[in-house]
């Protein structure tokens, strides 16, 4: 990567962040709601990207973890009267622990077993949300979930709350950026690319896979604690299996294993339905077919296509340079 390329990238990142801050200022309530939802779903998808993209494990329970986080936030802030930050801590610890316990038996056997165990867990979690009335108020749901005060600022109005979500997304992104460049992140990639080799290099593959899954689940919990004050009302329905499938599609469409994959995937899954209103009910059908076609063409999603294109150009440029150098050598006296 050349120096100009690096500056270009930084400039691009600053423009995008500035646009995310400035452009929504005159958005209406609904537009801000959708954008906040994008930020929340991106956090959940980033967690799943850690599990799927970096550690190579399919989890079908990310929606359930979002649900656990949302219920933790809703119950603690309404009935307990506690601040959201306390709920955040509980959600992270709870989701991490459940992820660890779930992954343990599944990863002991075969890689695709985690998909089945998490599928079962997703349904179990939904049953608990629906049936344990004393805790979750069952199908009636929990309403009047308060929005938090952040550093003395009330986030009751849509715009401040959007900034709260965006800020949280920023913090999570920085943490993730650091994580995947740490030795842990490199170990995650190693065990996706070649588990046997990773094992022979002294990486405890099972522990690292478990760690990736548990951390990914904890991020699902983080997204949940933002989701509850965003909608201010939760019931079990949004946290069924289809949320887990949606999140999985987001990661796949954006590009699993790419840092910005979840941002793009969540943008497509959350914003595109708003623009494609004219397709009415056919939207999800078209989306499913498009995902299948994308997967056939590029299993690493849209960013995978971009990556392939850039690599190709770079190798072409490199071989052109080599040809020039060679011809110079030959023509030299």
């Amino acid at each position: 990567m050349t120096a100009t390329g690096k500056y270009l990238r930084i400039a691009f990142a600053i423009v995008v962040i500035a646009a995310l801050i400035i452009v929504p200022m005159n958005f209406n309530r609904y537009g801000l709601y959708i954008l906040s939802q994008w930020a929340v779903m991106t956090i959940a998808a980033m967690g799943l990207n850690l599990t799927l993209g970096y550690a190579g494990q399919v989890s079908l329970a990310q929606g359930a973890f979002v649900g656990i986080g949302a219920y933790a936030a809703a119950i603690m802030t309404t009935q307990g009267g506690m601040p959201l930050i306390a709920a955040l801590g509980v959600a992270i610890v709870l989701c991490f622990a459940i992820g660890w316990i779930l992954g343990y038996p599944a990863l002991r056997v075969q890689h695709h077993y985690l998909a089945f165990v998490t599928l079962a867990f997703s349904t179990l979690a939904f049953l608990v949300f629906r049936n344990e009335d004393w805790l979750t108020k069952g199908i009636y749901g929990i309403s009047n979930i308060p929005r938090p005060n952040v550093l003395g600022f009330a986030t009751n109005r849509p715009l401040p709350f959007y900034y709260f979500c965006l800020g949280s997304l920023g913090i999570v992104s920085l943490a993730m950026w650091w994580l995947i460049r740490s030795p842990w992140g490199r170990a995650f990639v190693a065990l996706r690319e070649n588990p046997v080799r990773a094992l022979s290099l002294g990486i405890d593959t099972r522990r690292y896979t478990l760690m990736a899954f548990a951390m990914g689940s904890a991020l699902g919990g983080v997204a949940g604690t933002l989701y509850a004050p965003l909608t201010q009302y939760i019931d079990p329905v949004p946290f069924n299996l289809s949320l887990s499938l949606d999140l999985l599609m987001m990661v796949i469409v954006g590009g699993s294993g790419f840092f910005f994959g979840p941002f793009l995937g969540a943008a497509i899954a959350v914003l595109l339905p708003e623009w494609l209103r004219f397709t009415q009910g056919y939207y999800l059908m078209i989306y499913a077919v498009a995902v299948i076609m994308l997967l056939i063409y590029s299993p690493t999603g849209i960013l995978g296509i971009l990556d392939r294109y850039l690599t190709e150009r770079r190798t072409k440029a490199a071989s052109a340079l080599r040809a020039v150098a060679k011809s110079r050598l030959e023509t030299a006296p």
Binding site: P105, Y113, L119, A120, T123, R130
Partner: protein, 291 residues
């Protein structure tokens, strides 16, 4: 106690249907490493195909035949050529994820083109009760059980007693060697997909009169089939059969004796326990870890 016989018969009847679906699921896994997350939707769709043919004015028997043939064309040949063949080179997980997208696609298509409401579906077994050992048992349960058992026996005979069945097993166990000794591996794989499509169409025909035709019913069916396949043994046809029957009975008994709210949880807990203590399934053989 008087209730127990009814529950057992009803459980075995639904269990036999789960078994059929689970057998198809394991066949696909064995011959082409396809974990079909759309298997439940595959069971849901043929009933709607049959209903569509009936709406066009055809009698029920003709609709059944047309539904089975359409299902073999779409869910057998079409599924293999359009989704599995191009995806297989990307590996097991991308293919599994593609089938999840397919599940969403099928569900939404049925919701849009047919109806979001549950539609009644005629039964091929007449309603009524018969007397067995002095007790009345639902004729529908017995009929479903008989048909499902016939299908399972037919399939077992096909796999174990015929030359085609042996070739299919050879393909499943070791495609390279099978190809060397002259088995037309490609044709055998296609045959497995067609058999799976036939099995899901049959299961659809048997289960839809009980649960009604609804676009979302695939989720429950698919989950029951996965659980049956894993509990019984992912790599064994007889394991899938045993798993299906077990899940059917457990499901019905837990509805009566545990609680209706948590009836769906019992098979899931069973799944987790099996994965913990006997990951190869009750009748499965342990799979060597692939490198």
């Amino acid at each position: 106690m008087s209730n127990l016989l009814d529950l057992l018969v009803a459980g075995l009847a639904t269990g036999a249907i789960y078994a059929i679906v689970a057998v198809g699921f394991t066949l696909l896994w064995q011959t082409s490493q396809t974990i079909n997350f759309a298997q439940g939707e595959f069971v849901m769709l043929p009933a709607f195909l049959m209903l569509a043919v009936m709406h066009a004015g055809a009698p029920f028997w003709l609709a059944i035949i047309a539904g089975i043939l359409l299902s073999m064309l779409l869910l057998g040949l079409g599924f293999k050529l359009l989704l599995v063949d191009p995806m297989l080179r990307h590996g097991v997980l991308p293919l599994a994820i593609a089938t999840m997208a397919l599940a969403i696609g099928i569900k939404e298509a049925v919701k849009q083109f047919f109806s979001a409401e549950a539609s009644p579906f005629p039964s091929i077994v007449p309603a009524g009760d018969v007397s067995v050992f002095g007790r009345l048992v639902s004729l529908q349960s017995l009929g479903v059980l008989a048909l499902a058992i016939a299908a399972v026996i037919g399939l077992t005979l096909l796999l174990n007693r015929t030359s085609i069945g042996h070739q299919m097993q050879a393909t499943a166990q070791n495609p390279t060697v099978a190809r060397i000794i002259g088995v037309p591996v490609e044709r055998m794989i296609l045959l497995t997909f067609l058999i799976n499509a036939f099995l899901v169409a049959l299961a659809s025909l048997l289960i839809t009169p009980i649960y009604l035709a609804k676009f979302s019913s695939g989720e429950v069916l698919g989950q029951a089939a996965f659980i049956a396949a894993i509990v019984g043994g992912f790599n064994q046809v007889r394991g899938a059969i045993a798993g299906g029957l077990l899940i059917g009975v457990v499901d019905n008994l837990s509805a009566a004796y545990v609680s209706t709210q948590y009836r769906a949880a019992v098979p899931l807990v069973l799944l987790i326990v099996i994965i913990l203590f006997r990951p190869q399934g009750l009748l499965g053989r342990p799979e060597e870890r692939t490198v």
